[in-house]
Symmetry: none
Subunit: 346 residues, 4 copies
């Protein structure tokens, strides 16, 4: 159980930056400071670290700051070398006051300092802007992020759930004013949410070096098949404030997805893995992605999820094509189908 799963081959650079990250990262959303006790949180982080995961992701908003507090306590207790792991946090929602939200310079600076204080760290490795903020000039955002880095409070900065256009604008402003451009975008990615990561982010990478970290490989647990018979009371979808998730599961579209998962379960059986492992391996196999973020509320679940790495090599082109015929979610570049003008030539 303490076998190290990550060889050097399972490390990649985050985008075109020099930062080496494990193919799988461990996220604290919902769980730390919330769903799980501090004891379980410590167990989870320890297993993740021992297995070779070197990237722990949190956010100021997770459990109202408690996720950072719990993470910080564990890191302090474990005394792992600070240089042996990567911490990322995200800034956007930091409190109830009007000035404690968004990407104003005030909130970016105050937010990251509050996060560092909760984490009991001198710096995080990456600070993400947790959402774009159209009410703040891009120049203000990029200047604030550059300030944070120049203060030594973060090594790199990134974006989360930004459009490629917004990322490009940040890059453009960074180049114009000799500021520091972002290195990575956090984007949702799983069987039923593919377009941005598969079609748009590769262009970002090639043009400006911005890499992709993906989250929700299991679509909040939907892809494990556990909602096939409804909403189990122990599940996240049964939590307060997760009405939207329940609704989504029970929607017509949600039911259709459950049906597809039943077909995919056959493939998983043939490969000898679980639905969850197949879903994770399917994300990791995408070479345009620097890292897949995982969450877990039990050690068993985390171990199962990490073992998904062993199934990546089994995802042959035949298996992948079979999956596509079931999923029918393969995004295609916008075809000029409706276009009335073709290429000219002499």
């Amino acid at each position: 159980m303490t076998l190290k799963c990550f060889s050097d081959q399972l490390m990649t650079n985050l985008g075109k930056s020099g930062l080496r990250v494990s193919n799988i990262g461990f996220g604290t959303w919902v769980t730390f400071g919330g769903q799980v006790t501090e004891e379980v949180a410590e167990e989870l982080l320890t297993v993740a670290y021992d297995r070779g995961i070197n990237f722990f992701d949190t956010a100021e908003v997770y459990s109202g700051g408690k996720a950072e507090v719990v993470l910080g306590k564990i890191l302090k207790k474990k005394q792992w070398r600070r240089s042996s792991y990567i911490i990322s946090t995200k800034i956007y929602w930091g409190g109830k006051a009007e000035t404690e939200k968004g990407l104003s310079r005030k909130h970016i600076l105050e937010g990251i300092q509050a996060s560092l204080s909760r984490l009991q760290l001198e710096y995080v490795d990456i600070v993400f802007a947790n959402k774009a903020d159209s009410h703040v000039p891009m120049e203000e955002i990029v200047r604030a992020m550059t300030f944070v880095i120049n203060q030594g409070w973060a090594m790199y900065w990134g974006t989360s759930r930004w459009s490629t256009m917004e990322i490009m604008e940040a890059y453009s402003v960074a180049r114009q004013f000799n500021l520091i451009p972002p290195v990575a975008e956090q984007a949702e990615y799983h069987y039923f949410q593919r377009e941005k990561v598969e079609l748009q982010m590769p262009e970002m990478y090639h043009k400006i070096g911005v890499g992709t970290i993906t989250w929700s490989p299991l679509a909040c647990g939907i892809l494990t098949g556990k909602y096939d018979d409804g909403i189990p009371i122990y599940s996240r979808a049964a939590l307060k404030g997760y009405n939207w998730l329940r609704e989504r599961i029970l929607s017509e579209e949600g039911r259709r997805q459950q049906a597809k998962l039943r077909d995919i379960a056959v493939i998983a059986d043939q490969l000898g893995c679980s639905l969850a492992q197949l879903a994770i391996a399917w994300c990791v196999r995408n070479e345009n992605i620097s890292q897949v973020l995982l969450g877990a509320s039990t050690v068993e679940q985390l171990c199962e999820d990490i073992q998904a790495l062993q199934f990546v090599p089994k995802l042959t082109s035949e298996v992948l094509e079979h999956l596509e015929t079931i999923l029918e979610t393969n995004p295609r570049p916008v075809s000029p189908a409706g276009s009335v003008k073709r290429a000219f030539s002499w």
Copy 2:
């Protein structure tokens, strides 16, 4: 017939540039140097100018350069004040030789000079890159366009059929090297081709000031309903080299569109306008658009098309919603339908 249709209200700035353009522009594609005689071309241009259209669009590739020659002759003959109208041309396909195509500095510089010579003008107002060229570094393209402007050969430059990412990259390079960014993109826009103009270009406008000029409001005549019973022999779709248009019209999707047009014809009747006028008015009513480019092969058609302006105020929200229910082409922002994470709040 010489009634001026364009009040100042029907003039807008091209993007965030200072250039004032009429809501409707007159394009020479297919017609000038091709479908119509020089006499008809002169009549068309005169009517357009007299009605208040101040923008004439051409390209080096139109009729193999003859469109520019014809346009130039007419302008010379009419002796309108050069300062009273706007000429735009487009560069990409300039000849058979390998060096006479694309957006290399060589072709941009030689192409625009050849265009000016054919047009008998000292400068055009806007030079457009008629297509993106991924084989040329963006820095080379933006430097060449800046050179063209600094030589006095053009006042502004723009793009045509570029992706928003490519436009953003051009802007970024312009800012990084203190070069001149583009002011407008020419994009196809009509009932059946909406996504780029409605969803993406407004962001371009707000972020970097790039405006939108649209073309093909009638989808090469399809939206006039004239192809409802097949391909009339006098029509563009009957021309040599327009196989793709015929095929499109006769395709299953093409037939479906004809069916929708029959429903839309009822609305046009109620408004007292033609299908063509409704299609044009529908484009002009979009406030994110700086200008709608029109083509015409007869004076009657042009007059009919220009009169579409009078129906713009009649496109109430009820009428527009009715149209949407028929069209079913309303593009929506990539909805977070599949997304599992919502906005947080404290």
Copy 3:
């Protein structure tokens, strides 16, 4: 004989610039204004152009300016479209006066204008600095080249026989002061001169986009085998001022090379081509090269040389390896053979 040899596959971008050049270029060194009459020069240029060569190279120093005069006369007479071909010239030695040599701003500006006057052209496509000039600050050189381009006297600039360090310095200065960097280096390349082109220029291309044009694929005729029995009186080595070439041919090293060529002749025979054709095909097959410059003093020779293109596909890895065993000139990256320190690890 007028068969077009160049398909689009035989066109490549010059470095990472957008300029499309034919794989083979035609150079005027020694021949134009010197070895051959104007009639032969015209024949040669016509054959080259008709076969699809779109690149003609000259220099202010060739035959004391006469090469440019002859080239200019022919271009004027033939009336080919200026946009269908590429002219490059080189500046360094422009006259006897102290101020007429080197890469001072004065000589670059005066030199290119004198070249344009001799060529009867308004601009060349590329102006090369024919040698590095350590007595002129790099900033002065790059500013002067940028001025030449901004005047419209050239489209691009490049270097000839510069060290990679000098090219890198030019690039660095261009980036520091927002000037225009060079696009290509002209370098000697043949069986017996390989290191710079094979080891150093690929790094230049990848780091800063500078491409390679090579010259002397036949090492001034040595690789044709014609000097195997001494110096024929009709040959270049018999010309006045070519002592150094005679000496080189007759040297011990020269004799050793002749011996190798006898072995290579066997391979040429097997492929069904001449020694010259094999030598040229061997250059063209190097994918790190944008273009191979050829010279010729007779139409027969030129046709033979151009036909070398047909043998490029026959240079399989087996043939190339066989050649290497004969040549023994394969340059290797400087091995740390003598190094006493190896990589550390923890």
Copy 4:
């Protein structure tokens, strides 16, 4: 024994920087924290300092960090004025974790801080990148080094074992983004490893001011002649992990070098110095070098080595030429031996 060997004439600027360094520097590789006890280390450092050596070189990787610990302890104990000496360390290999190696911003920042902690210093004078890292963008490296300097953790930065092209790229990026360029390169230099230092680094110095610090003047002891009869058990080549050194000594090339050293021993005898002293003096006599780094495991050896300075004036041109005839390692600028084109002139 406390005679000061270093007059002002034996101080030079490091590259074109303002930092004044002694001609000979004292390095801690292999010895500190490894081969020698802390007592001997203190003696060595004291002798070096007393004789006028003002430069002490170490690296995070030397003896797994212990070299820095030992050096730091001695400096603390001796209480020499911090301003009277120069400390340099090197960053690249800082630990076993994937994130503790290479030149990512994370490792540069964490690495230098860990070094400072081991050294018990607030700053080093120079931080070197111990190897180039092609997996990290040059912009990230130069930004990180600039940050380190702006934090006050180092005064200058330099490179170690980088190619001149890589150094030039660092300089170019520094100029483009207004960051701080490197001041010196550490390169191996001795009788049998000369090309980079003699041919390439002078150009670096003249073009961009980067100076040269050389190491291994005795080629890990080979040049002392002590391996002439095999591998003495007390020698470095007998240490665990130095297989490569043993192999090199016993190789055919190694044997040839020993033979040359026997001839050189005759010259050393004539000058009245040891083989080691001659080898060191020969390095110091090279005016393109800012400093020669020496290591030593005994005080006797160190004193002998320092005394080499007295023999520098005795290395007349006759002696140097005699050495060359024995060594046959004099690198020449890539001669245009194979070149077919010479300088033109009018």
